[in-house]
Every structure is written in structure tokens, then in C-alpha cells.
Symmetry: C2
Amino acid sequence: MSQFWSPIVHSLTPYVPGEQPKVDKLIKLNTNENPYPPSVKVIETLKQVADDKLRLYPDPNADALKQRIADYYKVERNQVFVGNGSDEVLAHTFQALLKHEKPLLFPDITYSFYPVYCGLFGIDYLTIPVNDEFAININDYPQESGAIIFPNPNAPTGKLLALEDIRQLLREHAHKVVVVDEAYIDFGGTSAIALVNEFNNLIVIQTLSKSRSLAGLRVGFAIGHSALIEGLERVKNSFNSYPMDRFAIHGAIASFDDEESFQTTCQTIIDTRNELTNTLEKLGFNVIPSAANFVFASHPEFDAEEIAQKLRDRAIIVRYFNKPRIDQYLRITIGNNDENTKLCAALKEIIC
Amino acid sequence: MSQFWSPIVHSLTPYVPGEQPKVDKLIKLNTNENPYPPSVKVIETLKQVADDKLRLYPDPNADALKQRIADYYKVERNQVFVGNGSDEVLAHTFQALLKHEKPLLFPDITYSFYPVYCGLFGIDYLTIPVNDEFAININDYPQESGAIIFPNPNAPTGKLLALEDIRQLLREHAHKVVVVDEAYIDFGGTSAIALVNEFNNLIVIQTLSKSRSLAGLRVGFAIGHSALIEGLERVKNSFNSYPMDRFAIHGAIASFDDEESFQTTCQTIIDTRNELTNTLEKLGFNVIPSAANFVFASHPEFDAEEIAQKLRDRAIIVRYFNKPRIDQYLRITIGNNDENTKLCAALKEIIC
């Protein structure tokens, strides 16, 4: 508390990201990082970026990266917005497109940064309960609202909403912005980017942190109608001219240039997820069907927080949320085969 | 214009950064970039950062970098805030510390991003005219105000305010935040960081873009009382958990580790600035005494915009602002010796 703060600061409840422990040798399954390294071509490119040109500003518009993403998704460059991780893209989206007289809608169980953004920008919001299987029912979203946002697959459940449902939602809420936050879409879902030329009220947000193994580089992007993108650009250009450094711009381009590495990594994680789901179910866990690089699981006989603590005692960290409706679940990131094996062995010890 | 924009977006007038032309072989003296490369140790470090660890998130708090900056400036780690370039640090500062019932004050001739931030965050402001020599007179700053911000040296004039004046201003406005924006301080000024333990209402903001030749890396920081820094952290953690990527964190640390390279570069630019000032004065220019890596100059007989255009015809870009009081001035970045020689030759051609 300080007399010098702007009044809004007193009321903020900042987001708390998953722990980033500073010791090595932990099996870190708590922040949905990719267990596999980025493409060797990306690393190669990044080494080349480390040169004397760093004295120069990057392109404030990051046009080369926008063009590469536009080509990849077969849209126009002015339909692409880029930012310092999808969290920054989301922040600009909340400020530029989601503050209206009527409340913003999002699921009650969802990415816990959403209410934080609302606090920062003074956005009125209403949460809509997901059903008992954690599914979003689009018919529950009332017409009396200013905009809608949800992750797909949802976080922290991993539950996917079908593209047909999203199409129907867009049709029924044609006069408000609908944001589909697709941080995990590459692990088995179909992107709503397929719909951006059909609906002028749709924004799709993605990140290179998960499926492209580049959490350490901070690159996210949004794709939508050019008028929505222009709204984002206006806010971005009133906030920070150069959010994308030279590494972010060129590393991200290189990532989209190596389709094979990307596909192989995603498929391996999907396969491991299926194996892990089987093992967890054999151990008596209830596992929500996941389209993400994590599973969300609960055990009818063992307390989730206690399991998390016992895993931590064995140097394995998973994410536990002490929140209504999900306080008996663990969110477990899909690790590599070795991590997966060790996790399963530890869980067997704890449960059997 | 779009029906989908949040109302605030319609009224924004985004900042327009200096042009970043995509052709080579231009002499680029328009965005105050450092003509000399970053330390070879920084480049070396950055090449090492390009590895498989990029799959992992960076430390959301960038503690190692904060500690390095704290050690360098002999303050505590909780007195340091870091961000994606000083523009992002400024953005968070405007939102976290400068929005009050009474208006924010800044000079009429100053960094033109300030009114843009005010527009974005709905901050009421009042500009205080600098005098005819472009000097800030601290006695002109009224008590009836919510906070004060100014660059030192000022932009785009390069004019320095003495530390004693800043101390007096802090004393006379002890109940409001005073922000000293020191993007150019390393080129001959004395930093107000010396005063942060004396005044709990002072925030000093710096960047690695200019004096440390790292515009392409995007690192800025703020130093002040821990309660002010906490206000910034609260806003930052409600906006983006991980603004500093792995390159920014480790490259910046390496830069503070190479004092010799830093000092040599700054001194060379100061020497070149003095030479350029002499030459310009011989050509009849009026040059404002500069403590920055640029000079601000006007010619009594030649129109500034016309000179800028004629320089551009010769593949030299300088910055021209079509704004009241300064529309007969050019802001010329200090280049290397070769660029300096070519600039002077071109100006001789244009003027003689």
C-alpha cells in the first residue's frame, strides 16, 4: 500500500503464474512447458540473430513475422497481430475489444488470468458455469452481454469445444466480439482460425510457448478480421512501439518454417498423453478427456492437494488449484517418456 | 473504426516511432540508436542463450537481472523493476503511479509518447512550457498537480536539468510521484538514481537501448522506493507474467558485466557529439547544448523540413517534428565517425 499508487492499484489481485523453481533436477510438470526442445533450425537462427544488429531497433510492426503467420494460416497480413507472449496479446485484447457497457462472459472454470485483466482494465464480467463434465454449453451464454472469451481447449481442464459449437456461438452472438484462446489447440483440436473469414466478430489467439517449445522466447499472436486487428494495433501502439525483440521476430519465423519438427513434437505429446491417461485410469483416477499438453485428473479416494504434496516430496511438481469445483483435481503437464514413467511410478507408490 | 472496439480505442492517437526503413545503405540518424555494437561479451552470452532451455518459461520476476542492476547502482533488489524496453516500463508507470485526481504535469516539449499514455489510461494532464532556451524551470510546476514526469536529458532537445534542481523539485513536491525518464543520461548527465534513497516519491527510468547498444533486445528498468516498485509489479503481474524473455534477461546481465565496453562507447559518442556540434555551429546552426546521443539544431536561414528532405535525397535520415516551437529544428543522432563525416559533407552541400 502506498499513497503514491494510482487508485486502481490498491484493488488489483495480480495473477500468480505456476512456480518456476530455481533448482535443477526437478521433474517440472506444473506449467505446461513442452518437454522437447525447439526445432534445431530455430536455435540455429537465434544464434545468428545474436550479432551487432542488436544495436538497432527491431521492426516496430514485426511485418516479416506477421506475413509468415499469415502465409501459414492462409490469411492476410493485416489479419495478424503479434505480441510478447499470448498473455500480452490477451491483455491488449481485453483493453481494446472486451470493455463494453454490458458484461464480458467467460466460463467459471477457465484461465485464471481473465478476471485479473478485468480488474486491471475495469471490465465488468459474468462467469458462466461449465457443466459437471466441465463442458462449455454455448446455450448458457446470454444475449445480454458485451463480449465472450474462452480457451479452447479450456484451461485447466483440457476439454475441447467442437468447431460447430463455436460457429453456432459466433452466429448467435454476431454483434459482439468472441475470443477463442487457443494456447493448446495444436495438441489435437481444430483451430477456429478456419472461421475468421466467415465471421467479422471472431479473434483467435495462439502462442508459440507450448506446441512450438518456445516459452522462453515470448511470442503470441491473434488472427481475426482486419478491423479487430486494427483495434489491437491502436492499443499496442499507445502502449509499447517495439514489444517484439529481434530474437522473438526471427525465432518465431524460423519455427513456422520447420513444419516437420512441429508436427513430430505435437504427435509425440499426444501419444504420451494417451498412454498417461490409460495409466492414470488404471490407478483409479478420473481423467477429463484432454486435447491439450496436460491432463486434469482427480482420484475418488485420495485428496488432490495431498497427492501434489507427496509428488513434490519425490521431486515432481504438478499444478494444484485451491479453487471451488476443481480443488480435487491435479493438472499434470505431459512430460517426456522418462518423466512420464517416473510420474507413474511415484503415483503408484502414493496410491497403492 | 469498428463497432467491436472498446469505446476508448476510438479516441486513441497512437505514438508513431521514428521510421525503421527496410532498405540497407541508409545513414540512419533518426532514432537515436547507438552507432557502435554491443559488448562482444553480450553477443557471446546471447549465442549461449540460444539453446534447448528456450522450451522453458523465463523467471517471471527476472530476479537475476534485478539483482545485477541493484548491485550496479547500489540499491536493493526490491527497488528495481524491469520491462520490455523503457516504453513498457513507462506504460506501467503511467497506469500504476501517475493517474490521480489532479493532473499529471510534463513539459510542453518532451517525449511525445507521454500524452499517448495519458490517452490510453485516461490520465488528465497539463503541459508546462519550457523556456526559450528549452530549459525546464522547476518553479513553473504548480503544487496543484497529481504527479510529474520529464525526461532528463529532455527529448528531443537533449537539454539537461541539474541534479540540484531535481532534488529541489522532489522536496517541493514531496507528496506526489516524480518520474525522471533517463533514456539518455549515460551520455554526460548525472543520474537521479543517486537520490532514490533520499526521496520516497522518486522513480528513475532507464533503458539499455541507447548507451548499451541493445535497442534490438528490448530492456528497460526503473529504480525507486520499494513501495513504488511494488505498485509497478502489481500492474505488471496483472498484465503479463513474463515480459522478459531469456535473451533479454541474460543479455542485459552480460551488459552490466562489461563496464569497459560501456564506458568506451559512451565516451566516443560524447566526443563525436562535441565535434559534430562544432561543425554544425561553423555551418551557422544553432545547436542546443546536448547531454544525449543526439543534437537538436536549427538554422536561421534554412527551413528544417527542407534540410531533412535534402538529407534524405542523399540517403541520410534525421528526425523532423512538425510541431509548435520545434518545427525549425532537426534531431540528429550521433553516428560513427564515417557517418558523421558524410552528414557534415551533405549539410555543407545543402547550406553553402
